[in-house]
Amino acid sequence: MAGKSRRQSLIENAVLVPLDWVDERTAAVRGTKWFLFRNVPRDISWAQTLGSATLTAFIVQALTGAILAMYYKPSSEIDPVTGKPIAYASIEHITSDLTLGWLVRGMHRWGASVFIILLFLHMGRVFLFGAYKYPRELTWITGVLLLVTGMLLGFTGYLLPWDQTAYWATVVGINLNGTAPFLGPWLAEFLAGGPEIGADTLSKWYALHMLLLPGAVIALIGVHIYLVTRLGVVSPPWSRERAGRERTGAPPAGAREGLVRPGGGGD
């Protein structure tokens, strides 16, 4: 405390004491430090931000989706007053009547494409940098599962506006799945909820899009980010600190006890 004014240490205490109180009981502060304040290789670049960008895109999708769900009605029944399907009419209502509805729906609609594009860019970066190699194989595998669930989210979300494009694109999509060998026709009938799209299909896809698939994505993101935090960020392939290269001197910053190999880079 030497060199600090009394006032300064009072302020510090006002912040630190409650934090310590919480940390002692939950390890939340230590956990946050473990999660956020990591050493990374000195030669990382903007390319390594694609994963965070994808996560941000997903958070935008989750938030805008939850709010759109407050106004969207997943029913294929025809409203006797307007003569339009209830789902389609609720999308029209969101887009043209509700304040800022056009914006949030647009964010969700275009954000879906942004999410998928970023997924692919992130995957390409990981592939080209060789970041899927030992010991990060499971990070890659959870990432592939995230890609599949992400694309399923796009597929199920496309039906929800319940217009002609949505309906026939989904018919084609379901039947594409149906052409898979052996179990394809069974998968198609499961997706359509019968031999063809019926009265329950829309709400089924809404439940998949709203509840099951986002739940799976959130769980997979948890595992994915845990693995990234545990194993660290990989150096680019042109790095002079890349894994497997013998080098002398002090171990690089970021080498941690219990991680792969204190002498090696790549963490």
Binding site: V172, N175, F182, P185, W186, I197, G198, P262
Partner: protein, 311 residues
């Protein structure tokens, strides 16, 4: 961090295993590309491609596994002075202890409870798509409404209680009396057997002659072929594929005549139709999802389709 405690980098057991560089994958890739190209162009190219792929694949595998197959370095068995380890505690008597019993029963009971809850719920998620699929018989009205040799577009709700989502369209043609004297009909289902888009008759629709009978809308059309707007599938007047990506002929309905009215039966898939109208020979198969083959070698990919089980 104690430097001497670190394993030496030169020790192969402590370095990540990275196979050496190899040119064989390029040959393998060329072979696979050749094989795929050959599937479209000619069997000869495909065979050459397969040969290349197998040859280079084997060479590649041989090179990659050289280290594994090669001489295994002799490893000195580790020797330690026995005195360093404390004497092992006497092995616990082989009884089923209370804690092990509790552990097993917790896991077992938890699993049983989980199964009791999960199995019916998963069943509810999956089974309704496959059970109670009853095709309602659709009455298309008196057969006098169908002129001989001309298609009529008929649209109707298969289940009015479930609403517009059950609207279907068929193309009905009266072929005149068949050999047995019974009236003969050709009833094509409008969904394309490529991927399920709505097939359109290629001809002018006589909107003036439109009729609506008991919820069934009938519109005569002058058409000798049908086209699909999505991917360009083209069918002739018997529903045979003439161009584009469809993999079989248009689906058809069975029918019956009751009290002079045309009643639709069940939907079935058609491999091929030879002949026309009342004399057509139709190869009939259990209905399957659009895009699935019902005849030929490719149908081996779909040995059991849902309609064979659920109907």
């Amino acid at each position: 961090m104690v430097e001497s405690a670190q394993p030496a980098l030169s020790d192969p057991r402590h370095t990540p295993h990275v196979p050496g560089p190899s040119l064989w994958p390029i040959g393998f890739a060329v072979g696979v590309a050749c094989l795929l190209l050959g599937l479209v162009l000619s069997w000869v190219i495909a065979a050459v491609g397969a040969l290349l792929a197998v040859a280079f694949g084997l060479l590649w595998a041989r090179e990659v596994t050289r280290e594994v197959r090669g001489e295994v370095p002799e490893v000195e068995p580790e020797r330690r002075a026995q005195v360093e380890t404390p004497p092992a505690p006497a092995p616990a008597p082989a009884t089923f202890t209370r804690s092990r019993f509790l552990e097993a029963s917790t896991i077992g009971l938890g699993g049983a409870i989980g199964a009791v809850v999960t199995v019916p719920v998963l069943g509810f998620m999956v089974l309704p798509s496959f059970t109670n699929i009853e095709e309602q018989e659709i009455d298309l009205g008196p057969i006098e409404n169908f002129p001989e040799g001309e298609y009529v577009i008929a649209t109707y709700l298969t289940d009015p209680a479930r609403g517009e989502v059950t609207r279907r369209t068929v193309f009905v043609r009266y072929n005149g009396p068949a050999e047995n004297g019974q009236p003969s009909f050709t009833i094509l289902y409008s969904r394309c057997v490529h991927l399920g888009c709505p097939v359109q008759p290629n001809g002018p629709i006589d909107e003036a002659a439109k009729k609506e009978i008991d919820g069934v809308e009938l519109r005569p059309v002058l058409a000798q072929s049908f086209g699909c707007p999505c991917h360009g599938g083209l069918y002739d007047a018997e529903g045979n594929r003439r161009a584009g990506p469809p993999v079989r002929s248009m689906d058809r309905y069975t029918y019956s005549i009751r009290n002079g009215r045309l009643v639709l039966g069940e939907l079935y898939a058609v491999g091929n139709v030879s002949g026309t109208g009342a004399n057509a020979k139709i190869s009939k198969y259990a209905w399957s999802t659009p895009g699935t083959h019902v005849d030929g070698v490719e149908s081996w990919l779909y040995p059991l389709v849902p309609s064979q089980v659920t109907r």
